[in-house]
């Protein structure tokens, strides 16, 4: 197995050698010596060998020098291919990359650095630096000097030379055909990029094409689990055997080449000389022959692994076929990541729409007009937080000039909370005979709603208050809701009452006590939800019922009607939280005796 591998793959017309070197100067240096030796075997003259050795060292050293801490764990790829007219080298780095300068100037003579790029450029005919997310490739090309004129061919050798040329031509044709097929496939798949495609179906078609073009007998595609701890099987091909490969854990599956490739983010080859480990799960699919496992990443994030296998022991994958694997699988990786992003976007849209619906429901629950209840005046507001909750208030004319005030907070957010708020509102409105008895009314509403609320594990707090202008008093009952704050003129209560009564939907049969509170001339009263009292200032301190009462007292002292009192209170609340948007719905009913 070549984890730090050298893969020499030969064709008659062009051959190549690829080395993945650890990201260290010494290792890069040793790799360039191997490449030089290999080029020497191709018959390059000494001057050419020295030029290539130096150019490769300079490119490789750059890959080491500018690699960040994470990138130092990744190999530097050095690949060289030698044709009859040209030598091409590719140096893959995992640095941040840079823009290749259009002009390269030599630094000051006494500068100790800054000559690497100049050397690379002057030693080669062309340099291209291709930047990608997570890795970059420097492509160096230099023409190969014309071979010395051979002595005249004798007629006896001519057939042999012709046969060699024909074989070379056949190989070139085969490679061109492969390239054509892969190009056609890529065009076909490109049309699906960005569309809502089933990832498994897409992967299956792509892998099938890849296997055919790369002449592979088997393939395994695994994706990294959402928690990033395992490689989970997406596809095993061919599928006839219905082989099930269990997930492999990245921290434990050390005998697995897939885990090795994923952890080191590099290709791992296996062949009869260096076969798969006995405990490697991949052996069930690729028991003999050759293979390669490729880890694929997008934006420096591991997405998964793809393994290709071939049963024939004497037919390793060629460089072109390995390139094909990289191209297809990296393309697949982009499609997988795109599909995930599309799913996330759809979910976000659904959530946003759900919130819009909830907001519409909540808005529809609020009374359009405020009934007259002289000598009292009423003002109310319901301010939604970003996530719509189940707050609502209601004013219901209760006969004889009285008004039933309802304020409630259904536990939860979104559509379910808004729907239960609507049901609660309707339930209360359906019991006009109990409007003057808020305790009885809450008990009856609880009995009606208990089975529905408890079945879905929901509950609601509510305060119901019967405002009686004739008796100038308010009769209220509470189902676990915030207290009624009352500011009688010139009298400040020693403390504020706590939340009383069970919330609706907790117990099937609850008796709710009711309290009669006089509202003398000039009095102000406040019904509210906990979104008000639980407002926090930038230091994280909560406002609380007691401080809210102080704000009510200030509002009563500085204003003379309910609307002004409400606005005063909301202004002070905004000051308290430094005008930060509310994190919970804030609902209040301000009651003012106008006399």
């Amino acid at each position: 197995m070549n984890s730090n591998s050298t893969s020499a793959l030969s064709h008659d017309y062009r051959s190549s050698l690829r080395i993945e070197s650890p990201c260290e100067f010494t290792a890069v240096r040793n790799a360039t010596l191997q490449l030089r030796e290999w080029l020497a075997g191709k018959g390059l003259p000494e001057a050419e060998l020295s030029a290539w050795e130096l150019a490769l060292v300079e490119a490789g050293n750059n890959a080491v020098k500018y690699a960040g801490a994470g990138a130092r764990q990744l190999p530097v790829g050095l690949e060289i291919s030698c044709g009859e007219r040209e030598v091409e080298a590719r140096v893959t780095d995992h640095t941040q990359g840079f823009d290749w300068p259009s002009e390269i100037e030599l630094p000051d003579m006494e500068s100790e650095s800054g000559r690497g790029l100049f050397l690379i450029k002057s030693l080669t005919d062309s340099v291209t630096y291709l930047r990608h997310a997570g890795q970059n490739v420097m492509v160096l090309r230099r023409a190969r000097p014309a071979a010395e004129t051979e002595p005249g061919l004798d007629a006896d050798r001519l057939p042999a030379r012709l046969a060699e040329a024909e074989a070379a031509l056949n190989d070139m044709t085969a490679e061109l055909a492969t390239s054509y097929e892969s190009l056609v496939a890529m065009f076909r798949y490109s049309a699906e990029l960005g569309a809502h495609t089933d990832v498994k179906d897409f992967s299956q078609r792509l892998l099938r094409d890849l296997m055919q073009i790369a002449e592979a007998d088997s393939a395994v595609l695994r994706l990294l689990s959402s928690d990033g701890k395992r490689l989970e099987t997406l596809l095993v091909m061919p599928e006839q055997g219905r082989i099930i490969l269990p997930p492999v854990t990245l921290t434990e599956g050390l005998s697995s080449v897939e885990v090795g490739a994923a952890r080191n983010r590099q290709d791992i080859w296996f062949d009869p000389g260096e076969p798969l480990d006995r405990n490697d799960p991949l052996r069930t699919v690729m028991p003999v022959g050759n293979g390669i496992c490729h880890a694929f990443v997008v934006a420096d994030q591991l997405v998964g692994t793809a393994a290709l296998g071939r049963f024939a022991a004497d037919k390793p994958f060629t460089a072109a076929q390995v390139n094909l694997l990289h191209t297809f699988i990296d393309f697949l990786a982009i499609q997988i990541v795109n599909a995930r992003l599309l799913n996330e976007r759809t979910t976000t849209r659904v959530t946003r729409r759900e919130l819009e619906i909830a907001a519409e429901i909540q808005h529809s629950l609020l009374p359009e007009t405020v009934p007259a209840c002289l000598p009292f005046e009423l003002a109310a507001t319901c301010q939604n937080a970003l996530q719509v909750g189940g707050d609502f208030y209601d004013f219901i004319p209760a006969g004889d000039g009285a008004v039933l005030l309802v304020i409630a907070d259904v536990m939860g957010k979104g559509v379910p909370a808004a729907l239960f708020a609507a049901v609660l509102r309707s339930t209360i409105r359906s019991m006009p005979q109990l409007f003057s008895q808020p305790g009885e009314l809450l008990g009856a509403a609880n009995r009606t709603l208990y089975s529905d609320l408890s079945r879905v594990d929901m509950f609601a707090t509510a305060k119901v208050a019967y405002l009686n202008p004739r008796r100038q008093e308010i009769v209220s009952a509470s189902a676990g809701h915030c207290p009624l704050l009352v500011w009688p003129s010139g009298v400040a209560p020693a403390n504020t009452p706590s939340r009383a009564g069970f919330p609706l939907g907790i117990e099937p049969d609850v008796k709710y006590a009711q309290t009669v509170t006089p509202l003398p001339p000039g009095a102000a009263a406040l019904l509210y939800t906990d979104g008000l009292s639980e407002t926090r200032n930038p230091a994280g301190e909560m406002l609380g019922d007691k401080m809210l009462f102080q704000l009510l007292a200030q509002a009563a002292a500085h204003t003379s009607d309910a609307h002004a009192g409400k606005h005063f209170l909301l202004g002070r609340l905004a000051d308290f939280c430094d005008h930060a948007p509310p994190t919970d719905d804030q609902t209040l009913i301000f009651i003012r005796h106008l006399a």
Binding site: F25, T26, V28, R29, S50, E53, L54, V57, E58, N61, V64, K65, L106, M109, E110, S111, E112, S113, R115, G116, F118, L119, S122
Partner: protein
Amino acid sequence: MHILVDNERVRVTGLDGLGADNCAEFKQLLKPHVTDACRVVEIDCGPIRFLDSDGLGALICIHKWLAPHHGRVRLGQTSPVVRQLLGRLRLDEIFEFAP
């Protein structure tokens, strides 16, 4: 690599290559010998079969250590490849060359 100190002269022999992988060590070994009294650091380039831009950076560094005391770096037995490299980088004026 061997370092011989002879009065004002420091002589380096047996250096077979100077590049990114060994230039830091090269400077570290030489630094104690490049004193105020040192006038020339002579490097036998005969065995050098490889020199890269970082190796050249190390030679320039030694040149800068010596320059305040009018010292020089002298390169001996430079191969055509090394000479060509120095010429390519227009550094052939900064060093002295000895046969």
